[in-house]
């Protein structure tokens, strides 16, 4: 009986050895290697540490602006999305107008407009009683702009849910909004999570535009540092690095969420 027997351990070994080079996420490997190298270089350099501590206030403002604008955009996007799928012609028209107009404008223009046209107009109309500071104007501008993008994300998510879901919910006696809230939106939300995270990442990058209305975000602080020290190389390296750390973290979050959802299905 000299039959060759194969143990399970050997089978497993054969399996793990068969991972091809193409399966390795090389981009992630490169980022990790470069990250460790650059991180080490930066954290041991006195100049970079100085720049980092100088722009840290800006990072805070960037994160705060991004978060608040995103919350506003989530709310506006939900309302807009509901309008876009509404059978009510007025709601539909309002939502569509919002999307088409806002998406047709560069974000930079929206922010300048909020800062120097709408903001002062609000102040004048309310006789100075309500005068939103520049930061609030910027947050509203960004939130409004991204609300238009998120409107389309929500709309696509809602429309991707099979018609039978709404019919089943309505047949049980639920109102349209009860069906939306308990049946359609929970399902749509899972589908739109990845694009929502993408938009959050894009919003984080676009938040750098608020530096044009003289708000001290990360980019503005970096520019300030460069103009004071003429160290453009270190200054902008740091700015780029800081944005990259934040967006990569979001991208990672997006991947984790996406994977979780696949498991949940």
């Amino acid at each position: 009986m000299a039959e060759p027997t194969v143990t399970t351990a050997e089978l497993k070994g054969a399996k793990t050895r068969r991972i091809s080079l193409a399966d390795v996420p090389w981009w992630a490997v490169i980022i990790v290697v470069l990250g460790v190298y650059i991180g080490y270089a930066v954290l041991t350099s006195e100049t970079y540490l100085k720049v980092i501590s100088f722009v840290m206030e800006g990072v805070k403002l960037t994160l705060q602006t991004t978060l608040l604008a995103f919350i506003l955009a989530l709310v506006l996007g939900l309302l807009g999305g509901l309008g876009r799928v509404s059978k009510n012609p007025i709601l539909y028209a309002m939502a569509t107008l919002y999307v088409e107009v806002i998406r047709g404008l560069p974000m930079l223009v929206i922010i300048l407009y909020m800062g120097f046209v709408i903001g002062p107009a609000i102040r004048d109309l309310t006789g100075g009683r309500f005068d939103p500071p520049m930061l609030q104007r910027a947050i509203i501008g960004l939130g409004f702009g991204y609300g238009a993008y998120l409107t389309e994300v929500y709309r696509a998510g809602i429309q991707s849910i099979h018609r039978g879901q709404m019919e089943a919910a309505r047949s049980l006696g639920m109102t349209y909004f009860q069906a939306m809230r308990h049946v359609i939106l929970p399902q749509a939300f899972r589908i739109i999570l990845p694009p929502l995270v993408n938009n959050l990442s894009a919003l984080l990058k676009d938040s750098s535009l608020i530096s044009v209305i003289a708000l001290s975000d990360l980019l503005q602080m970096g520019r300030l540092y460069v103009s004071r020290t003429f160290r453009a190389f270190e200054g902008y390296n740091t700015v780029a690095l800081m944005y990259l750390v934040m967006t990569l973290a979001l991208s990672l979050l997006g991947r984790v969420l996406e994977r979780r959802m696949k498991v949940g299905e």
Binding site: A168, S171, L172, M174, Q187
Partner: protein, 246 residues
Amino acid sequence: MVNEPIIQMRDVHKRFGQVHAVRGVSLDVFPAEVVVIIGPSGSGKSTLLRCINHLETPTSGKIIVDGIDATAKGADINALRAEIGIVFQLFNLFPHLTALGNVTLAQRVVRKRSKEEAEAIAMEQLTKVGIPEKAHVYPDQLSGGQQQRVAIARSLAMQPKIMMFDEPTSALDPEMIKEVLDVMLELANEGMTMVVVSHEMGFAKAAADRTIFLDEGVIVEDTTPEGLFTAPKHERTKLFLSKILH
């Protein structure tokens, strides 16, 4: 036994653009009656059912359900729908909720029952359809037959006065059809008012009080199952039966 019909349809028409799906249907269904509707595909069977609970709004005509004229302006369609259960061909379970969640949701949202009460009723109904052990399982882990039984339990938990079935076994593998039909038979025996669109002749013979043959949006024959299957009067009925009886 003289009583009021629970569903009264008078000259109901439904058009979808150029398509005239239902062409003047008048039909009475009495409490505890089981009515089975058969007919070729595209004959307007499903549309007719969907008009009864207003998933489709009739283009013209009158539909009175449980004394409420649903075609009148300002009628509380939602309240009416809660009294009419409907089971769909494709089950339409809510995939993000467990079987128990599916059966409790509308009870809580529409009937405003407490969590405990809704869950007690849900378990009762899941037991009735024979799958109480699947209460905490999500729809995608259930077989088609099990999903359809959860869908039936979901409708029953609302304690409706009428149950409608829109080809409930058409999407099922053959070996699962019986488990669904058995539940429907039991319901019929309990005296539930039922309107069933189905070509399951066995069910029609065993449970139906009346069998209706619908073709091109009109009622061609309205008679007993024996009458329809063994002695159809109209040529169109004969032709159709010869096709489905092989």
